[in-house]
């Protein structure tokens, strides 16, 4: 850890851990409901659980990005963070907004807009919060010694993510408009600017962990995010096939979204190639494992499973079925959840001053969670395929099909239990490092 103010990252990561575990609780509520065990229906109906599950995911990933940025930007800029106080205020208010939103969901205070259920009133607080965050970063970069490609891609990604939140705040009374602009946020985030953030964080990790020359890594960073935007922007069309938009989106969305996996494939190949090429044997092996794992699983979840239902002729049948749930889990897990966990794994030994790099808990956390998630995605896949065939092709009634799926939902819950064990191990490992301190202050990693 080079600068004192980088310690703030740990507190953001601690918030991530808490929100993530809570997210999983709501996942189980929904998993059991899919099994036919909906005993909580009167207190936490399915829609409350699903809004909470999805929003906690978004909030903890954002907290993770912020923590990562507060760690990376000072180091890349060569100075302390501009204002540590502002960062604290910003963390506290982020948590406040998140917790208020979650409580609101249980009291029917929300908007029926998937992933953006947070009510408009709170949206404004989110905007202020993110502005404070970006301002803090900008001042740090501005007053810093240098501006690296990694830092500018990271900042540009975060800034665009903030700007793209705005179209989601416009109110429409026509659902077709509402849905159209909701995708400006959701799709252009996960298949656009978040990939920039991912590319930048991954570059940072690869530079540190493999010792490959910065110039080489950053060159590839440009190529990969170039492919991301080349395919991802017009790829938004894969959400416009059947939601009221004109027919030309079938072709445009089909072609460009079919190219999106290339960016993820590029990322995976690049991470593996750099790890092989790198002469440096960094002792933090588990951080490298998470980094490579993230690159590979994001290709599987977003690239491969995204491609599986992105062509209009397939999407006609899979649109709005559990097939989407299959893809959504692996994509978010591989690309973004694992990225944050990689960053945490990298930062942890430095920020706590403990030179302990591997441990059975850390290793088991990686494998158990990934095997568990693969099982969950398998269960979703079976449920989705059965649903498509019985309901969309065979014409069987929705609820009857869902009853056939109870047994597979049990499979989902069992795999989720394994996954959760992995995450709990990760959390235990996180706790075992103790609180952040200044022991490694001033040391370049």
């Amino acid at each position: 850890m080079k600068y004192k103010s980088q310690k703030i990252a740990w507190y953001f990561f601690a918030a991530c851990m808490g929100l993530f575990l809570l997210q999983l609780v709501y996942g189980f509520i929904m998993g059991f409901a899919h099994m036919g065990m909906d005993g909580l229906h009167d207190i936490i109906p399915f829609n409350a659980a699903s809004a909470t599950h999805k929003n906690l995911l978004v909030v903890w990933l954002l907290a993770g990005f912020m923590g990562a940025a507060y760690w990376i930007i000072p180091e890349e800029s060569g100075r302390e963070l501009w204002s540590i106080k502002l960062a604290w205020v910003q963390l506290a208010s982020l948590l406040l907004v998140g917790v208020t939103a979650v409580i609101g969901f249980h009291l029917n205070w929300w908007e029926g807009r998937k992933f953006l259920e947070i009510p408009r009133e709170l949206d404004f607080l989110v905007v202020v919060n993110v502005l404070a965050f970006l301002f803090n970063l900008l001042m740090t970069i501005w007053k810093g010694k240098r501006i690296t490609t990694t830092a500018s891609v990271l900042f540009f990604g975060l800034l665009s993510a903030a700007l793209l939140y705005l179209p989601g705040m416009i109110t429409f009374d026509n659902i077709v408009f509402d849905s159209f602009f909701r995708w400006w946020v959701v799709h252009l985030w996960v298949e656009g600017v978040w990939e920039l953030i991912m590319g930048a964080i991954m570059s940072y990790l690869l530079i540190k962990l493999t010792g490959v020359d910065r110039e080489v890594i950053e060159k590839w960073l440009y190529i990969i995010v170039g492919f991301t935007f080349l395919s991802g922007i017009l790829g938004t069309g894969h959400h416009y096939y059947y939601t009221g938009a004109p027919g030309y989106w079938l072709m445009i969305g089909g072609i460009f979204s079919a190219l999106e996996p290339l960016a993820f494939l590029g990322m995976a190949m690049y991470a593996i190639a750099m790890a092989r090429k790198g002469g440096r044997k960094h002792p933090n092996k588990i951080a490298l494992t998470w980094t490579i794992g993230c690159a590979v699983m994001s290709f599987v979840g977003a690239g491969f499973l995204g491609f599986a239902h992105t062509l209009p002729s397939v999407n006609m049948y899979t649109h709005g079925t559990l097939i989407t749930g299959m893809h959504g889990h692996m994509a978010f897990w591989g690309a973004y959840a694992m990225l944050i966990l990689a960053m945490i794994a990298y930062v942890l030994p430095q920020v706590t001053g403990r030179k302990r790099y591997t441990d059975w808990k850390a290793e088991w956390a990686f494998w158990t969670s990934n095997i568990g998630m693969t099982g969950m995605v398998g269960a979703f896949a079976v449920m989705g395929v059965v649903q498509v065939y019985l309901e969309r092709k065979g014409g069987m009634d929705f609820l009857e099909v869902q009853e056939q799926l109870h047994v597979h939902a049990a499979g989902l819950v069992i795999a989720a239990a394994l996954f959760t064990m992995g995450i709990v191990l990760f959390f235990m490992n996180f706790c075992s490092y103790g609180m952040p301190n200044d022991e490694t202050l001033g040391q370049e990693d």
């Binding site: 399915f46 807009r113 509402d178 190529i223 922007i233 059947y242 009221g244 004109p246 014409g395 609820l399």
Partner: protein, 250 residues
């Protein structure tokens, strides 16, 4: 080999071109939305129905136009599938329609006892108006629902029933009433298609007489206290017509 500045140019160039194309297509798409979604039919009732839809996060369980969660049925074509009569009855007390199955939230604003008869009726009617409007949006062929079972059922059953018995040669008018009622009944019953929530009604005329059937439809719970069949609150004329039809199902 490619230099870093060439890579940067590739990134910036590609992004600018694609973003420009995207903005251009967005402008065109937005210009087409009013037509494609029949904005001319967006009455205040429809808009109010949409407000009910978002304010209560119905999308947290259902999908509409294929978007939402996967716990409850796809609703894009629900108006065509079920019709107004069925939906009106259903929304009053959703759990009564699918006992022991997945539960829908029982909303106060649809409950005459909680918000008054008029208010509840308006909320239900506006919700249905919204679904009716959504069903007409041009979705490039997506319906999310190849199963139009109930409607086909009545055609077949009415044809079969009407053919052999002269008494049941229902007038066109009658058939229309029956069809609208059928949309209600077919949520739970079939005629010759096996038991769903309620029993198969094929041959029901062999099992019960007019008096029993009338009483049953008017007030199911007086005959069987724990029955899951709701009181549909039909008028006497409708009940009679319905019983006449049921008596043809031999």
């Amino acid at each position: 080999m490619l230099t870093k500045s060439a890579a940067k140019a590739f990134f910036l160039g590609g992004t600018v071109i694609c973003a420009a194309a995207f903005v251009f297509l967005t402008v065109d798409t937005i210009a087409q939305f009013p037509d494609r979604s029949h904005e001319e039919n967006m009455t205040p009732e429809v808009i109010h129905g949409f407000e009910i839809w978002t304010e209560n996060n119905c999308m947290g369980c259902h999908t509409l136009m294929g978007e939402g969660a996967y716990y409850a049925p796809e609703l894009t074509q629900v108006f065509r599938r079920r019709g107004e009569a069925w939906m009106t009855e259903f929304l009053k007390d959703p759990q009564a329609f699918y006992p022991n199955r997945r539960k829908m939230v029982q909303y106060d604003f649809y409950d005459a006892k909680k918000v008054g008869k008029e208010e509840a009726a308006k909320n239900i009617a506006d919700t249905i108006a919204f679904f009716n409007w959504v069903g007409d949006i041009d979705l490039n062929g997506f319906t999310g629902d190849p199963n139009n079972g109930p409607e086909q059922d009545i055609e077949k059953a009415a044809a079969k029933a009407a053919a052999p018995t002269a008494a049941a040669s229902a007038s066109v008018d009658q058939l229309a009433t029956l069809r609208s009622l059928n949309a209600v009944c077919a949520g739970c019953h079939t005629i010759g298609g096996g038991a769903l929530v309620g029993p198969d009604l094929a041959g029901v005329a062999n099992r019960f007489d007019a008096k029993y059937l009338t009483k049953w439809i008017q007030e199911p719970s007086t005959i069987k206290a724990d029955t899951t069949m709701p009181n549909l609150g039909l008028g006497d004329a409708q009940v009679k017509e319905l019983v006449d039809f049921l008596l043809t199902l031999k």
